[in-house]
């Protein structure tokens, strides 16, 4: 594992020395370690997202998916390891920094503030303002109008942005959170279990938004337990187990059943093993 990691490191450094070429992956996380006290959540994990690609991040509970994402979005700083974004090495030490890089995340449980209106939720953290003297006031009119327009852009139609989020259904809330992420996210969209509490129809909508984001030129990391859903949208799967990567697989080479088996058993099928260990398959 470690040899493999260092080999990739060299490759990535070589890439970053040159100009950020279109070929380089959007995100390259190399040899990431994260310890919480004595608990080793991530143990030398490599993770990569190419441009305009939907990656399904899979793994059992406690495999380290959420920790990995939180490292990428600046909630946690890695104990060890490097992160390359757009070919440059970056240090993501806060959610704000992640945002600056163009990474937007929709978290399963902490997406929206239920007692605030749609518009205020939508613009939270980057509110449009006008200035009178030293004071910055919210431009409420612009907030409301642009929220409606912006959500319409990604296919979500609301009548008023004045309603509190608490009065809406789970699917509507998730739509707004994703709509916001797509609107503000320039490069990478991370969806953390976006469909876990949704009905069938609502789930389909969320998958549509995912494609819409890809069409806008973004990359997407899609985290879920539901393999059939992720198999429908993802170009590639990354399976994680016990803080390590089990492997990367393109959509064509594995069936849903194989993916499910891998998550459960933690064993990569014989026919796939060679390609992955070399790390050549993806570069080809």
């Amino acid at each position: 594992m470690s040899e493999n990691g260092s080999a990739q490191t060299e490759a990535a450094v070589a890439q970053s020395n040159g100009a950020a070429s279109a070929d380089s992956p959007l995100v390259d996380m190399i040899n990431i370690h994260k310890y919480f006290g004595s608990v080793q959540a991530l143990r030398g994990l490599d993770f990569r997202v190419n441009r305009q690609e939907i990656v399904g991040l899979l793994g059992d509970n406690g495999a380290g998916k959420s920790t990995l994402i939180k490292v990428l979005t600046g909630f946690h700083t890695p104990t060890r390891g490097q992160i390359f974004f757009d070919g440059d090495e970056v240090e993501i030490d806060s959610p704000t920094r992640a945002r600056e890089l163009g990474i937007e995340t929709v978290y399963q449980d902490l997406a929206l503030v239920p007692l605030m209106s749609i518009a205020r939720n939508f613009w939270l953290g980057q509110e449009p303002t006008y200035q009178i003297g030293p004071l910055k006031f919210l431009d409420q009119k612009l907030m409301e109008e642009s929220t409606i327009d912006a959500l319409a852009d990604v296919g979500i139609h609301i009548r008023t942005a004045d309603e509190t989020v608490g009065t809406m259904s789970g699917g509507e809330r998730q739509s707004i959170a994703i709509g916001r992420a797509v609107y503000f996210g320039k490069r990478l969209l991370i969806l953390d279990e976006p469909t876990s509490a949704l009905s069938v129809g609502e789930t389909q909508k969320v998958l549509d938004y995912t494609f819409a984001a890809k069409d806008k030129g973004m990359s997407v990391i899609f985290i879920t337990h539901n393999i059939s859903q992720v198999h429908e949208v993802a170009d590639r799967f990354t399976i994680i187990e016990h803080g390590r990567k089990l492997g990367d697989f393109t959509k064509d080479e594995v069936s849903q059943q194989e993916v499910a088996n891998m998550i459960v058993s933690g064993v990569v099928p014989e026919r796939l093993r060679l390609f992955d260990e070399d790390g050549k398959k993806e570069n080809a």
Binding site: T73, F75, S94, P95, T96, R99, T105, Y107, D109, L110, A111, L112, V113, P114, L115, M116, R120, N121, W123, L124, G125, Q126, E127, T129, L135, K136, F137, L138, Q140, I158, R159, T160, D162, E163, T164, G166, T167
Partner: protein, 766 residues
């Protein structure tokens, strides 16, 4: 929408009746204005009937009647046109009418009950008092202590029922909120009808409990004969008018409420777009419960006691509550962001102590300071204390309850150690005269210029819009002349009239204020106003109505300040002296705008003894500033987010810790300001200054609708919460109920307020 309108305009027989009622109510409103202005319908404390004598209360009634009448006309004409808007306005008018009817009935029932019960306790029949056969009750009447011999009569039964009611209510409330299986709120939110009925029942029991408790309270403790005299004589003929209002209001409300339900369904079917009903509008505002509560309590005391609306009563509760109200603003802000602070009482003590000590004993290294310097240094000190609270919270992650419980005790040690031996630190032990600051007139000129600019800006924003709307209405009216001479035209002419009127009023108000500011500038540019000497304590928290003349000779010697303050208390000088154009020099807040005071204050029956303090104005100022901060700025948005869902806020790049830290410091600063006001009002500090304030202020905030769990609340609500507490404090004494019941009443009020807030808010979410 069309279906709805046709239903209102066509099929329903009730609609024309409601419409007619609206027009009649409108006429009534304007009739009341005429009657009051002509002096045929006296209100409040009016000595003699003369047109010049219209007092503050009557002006309030005139304005309310105008709003009421205008709203009724608007509703009536809207219904005539079959407009959606008409229904909405109609609902508000119906609601107001219902409330008015209830208030009038209460104005008879409350004093009658109180008087009956109290007289009964004294063994006097009410009828004989009303007949006039007993004019006053002698102080020789025996005092009656429960339950000596009263169990046999009605009062005793009432008392028993009242106490039982409280016990049952308390148990019920406790059980329904605490026991997991019976959790009312969850039931209410999830199940609907059954639980809602249960909740309503609970509320009724609670309210009944409060009423019974008030009555019982007058029994349990000795009832004082003098108190009975203060309670208004019930005027039974008013019952008739009250019932009529109640019936009309109820009928209109029910008739229109049917449409409300339909429109509500419509709302759900069509979209989220709001057909704004009273309920949804109220539910959107966190202060809904507080608005209703403040109105109810105000009316209760207004009708129960003649003394409650006297200027001195109003002044007393406003002045007492204003400093706490200022702290409540900070508490609200902090509570919305999900934390709270128990140490504010101790911080207030430290603030008052530092401010006074810096001016008397002197600050370490700096010596004795001037008042302004002392105030600034005090604010610095309290900011540090707030910072300590915030830092402890952020770095230890211990809940704010524990952290601030610790700092509450720790900060209290400062005053306990500094003022040892049961001493009281007093300003007058160190200095002979109260501090005076000299302010150059140019400061006032600058302030006035800023005021003028603000006025011009608001005129620039509002007037053109109003003018355009008036023009639009007028063109439509002109276009329709002769063509469609029906209800539309009637509506439009009313519309044009009110638009023109409001434009005129706004323009006039702006002009008057502009003129006033110009005069102020002129005054301060002249020699007379080029330098203003003001008592420092006067500009921080002096008496507001302070037109008192001070002998010029005394000013020269410097004695005037002290003497002036003493004289004010006696109400020796009056407006008349100033109006009479006597050569007077005076200090206090009116001095800087002195040019105006001598102008026209006639007609306003100003009671110079009423203790209106400047802190009331400061309180209002802070309320407005922080309300804008909370609702209109980025910072406010983040405060809500941090309390509502800290994870989401952090994920959106909000620095949660920084927001909380700032709120702790803002609260500490506001507490410091309140401490300075307290010292300015009464320049002495004892070691326990501010003890117990923290819970009282938190109570105000909770009554005002702010959630203890954070994410929801309003500054206006907290202001109303403070008013409720203040009115209870003064009002209970005025209706003859011993102040010992004050804490208990506030306790019940908190429970009622929270239940009511949950009820109203729940309505928005199902």
């Amino acid at each position: 929408m069309d279906a709805l309108i046709s239903r209102v305009g066509g099929e329903k027989q009730t609609t024309p009746i409601v419409m007619g009622a609206m027009w009649l109510l409108g006429i009534l409103g304007f009739a009341v204005i005429a009657l009051v202005l002509l002096g045929w319908l006296p209100f409040g404390e009016r000595a003699n009937i003369s047109r010049r004598d219209i007092n503050l209360i009557e002006w309030i009634i005139v304005m309310s009647a105008f709003l009421y009448g205008a709203a009724s006309f608007h509703a009536g004409s809207g219904l005539l046109q079959g407009k959606q808007e008409g229904i909405r306005w109609g609902q508000w008018v119906a609601f107001a009418t219902l409330f008015l009817g209830g208030a009038i009935i209460m104005s008879v029932v409350i004093p009658a009950t109180l008087k009956h019960v109290l007289l009964n306790a004294e063994g006097i029949n009410l009828a004989t008092v009303l007949d006039g056969s007993v004019d006053s009750i002698g102080s020789s009447q025996r005092f009656l202590v429960f339950p000596a011999d009263s169990l046999g009569n009605l009062g005793g039964i009432l008392t028993t029922v009242g106490l039982l009611g409280i016990a049952v209510t308390a148990m019920l409330a406790l059980a329904s909120f605490v026991l997991p299986g019976l959790n009312v709120i969850t039931h209410f939110l999830t199940e609907g009808a059954y639980s809602r009925r249960f909740l309503r029942l609970l509320m009724l029991t609670l309210i009944l409990g409060v009423i019974l408790m008030l009555i019982a309270g007058s029994y349990v403790v000795n009832s004082f004969p003098e108190a009975i005299g203060k309670i208004r004589h019930p005027a039974y003929q008013h019952l008739f008018a009250g019932v009529i209002f109640l019936v009309v209001g109820w009928f209109s409300y029910v008739a229109l409420a049917q449409d409300e339900e339909e429109s509500d369904e419509l709302r759900r079917a069509v979209s989220l777009s709001p057909a704004k009903t009273i309920r949804t509008q109220l539910a959107k505002s966190p202060s809904a419960g507080a608005i209703i509560g403040a109105m109810a309590i105000f009316f209760f005391f207004a009708v129960a006691s003649d003394l409650f609306l006297e200027q001195s009563s109003v002044a007393s509760f406003l002045s007492n509550i204003s400093t706490k109200g200022i702290i409540a603003i900070g508490v609200t802000l902090l509570m919305i962001s999900g934390e709270f602070d128990l140490s504010i009482g101790s911080i207030l003590g430290v603030a008052a102590l530092s401010f006074l000590a810096f001016m008397t004993d002197g600050a370490p290294l700096l010596g004795v300071l001037q008042p302004l310097e002392a105030a600034i240094l005090t604010l610095f000190v309290v900011a540090v204390l707030g910072g300590i609270n915030g830092t402890l919270l952020i770095f230890t992650r211990i809940p704010s309850f524990i952290v601030t419980l610790g700092t509450m005790l720790a900060f209290r040690a400062v005053t306990l150690v500094a003022i040892a031996g049961g001493r009281i630190l007093r300003y007058s032990d160190y200095h002979e005269f109260l501090p005076v600051v000299t302010i150059p007139g140019i400061v006032f000129v600058a302030l006035a210029v800023i005021g003028i600019l603000l006025l011009l800006y608001s005129a620039y924003r509002s007037l053109p819009v109003m003018w355009r709307r008036l023009q639009e209405s007028a063109t439509q009216l002109r276009a329709n002349v002769g063509v469609d001479a029906g209800p539309n035209e009637a509506f439009r002419s009313v519309d044009v009239f009110f638009r023109a009127l409001s434009l005129l009023v706004v323009a006039m108000v702006i002009l008057v204020f502009l003129g006033w500011l110009v005069i102020v500038i002129g005054y301060h540019l002249s020699d007379q106003g080029s330098e203003v000497e003001v008592g420092f304590f006067d500009i921080t928290n002096g008496r507001l109505i302070n037109h008192c003349a001070v002998d010029p000779a005394l000013i020269e010697t410097g004695e005037a300040v002290m003497q002036g303050r003493e004289r004010l208390g006696e109400g020796e000088c009056s407006v008349e002296r100033i109006v009479a154009g006597e050569e007077v020099r005076y200090r206090g807040m009116m001095h800087p705008v002195g040019a105006i005071v001598s102008d026209d204050l006639v007609g306003w029956d100003v009671n110079t003894r009423a203790n209106f303090r400047l802190s009331i104005i400061w309180w209002l100022f802070f309320v407005i500033v922080f309300h804008l901060l909370l609702t209109r700025t980025t910072y406010g948005n983040r405060v809500f987010a941090v309390g509502g869902n800290p994870g989401a806020a952090r994920a959106q790049g909000v620095n949660v810790d920084r927001v909380k830290m700032r709120n702790f410091i803002i609260l500490a600063l506001l507490t410091g300001i309140a401490g300075i006001y307290e010292v300015a009002r009464n320049p002495g500090v004892d070691p326990l200054k501010g003890e117990g304030w923290e819970l009282e202020v938190i109570a105000m905030t909770v009554i005002g609708g702010t959630l203890l769990s954070g994410g929801y609340g309003s500054i206006i609500g907290s202001m109303l919460g403070a008013l409720i507490v203040g009115m209870l404090q003064t009002g209970l004494v005025l209706v003859g109920i011993p102040s010992r019941l004050f804490a208990g009443t506030v306790g019940v009020t908190i429970i009622v307020a929270v239940v009511m807030n949950t009820f109203v808010r729940g309505g928005a979410q199902d």
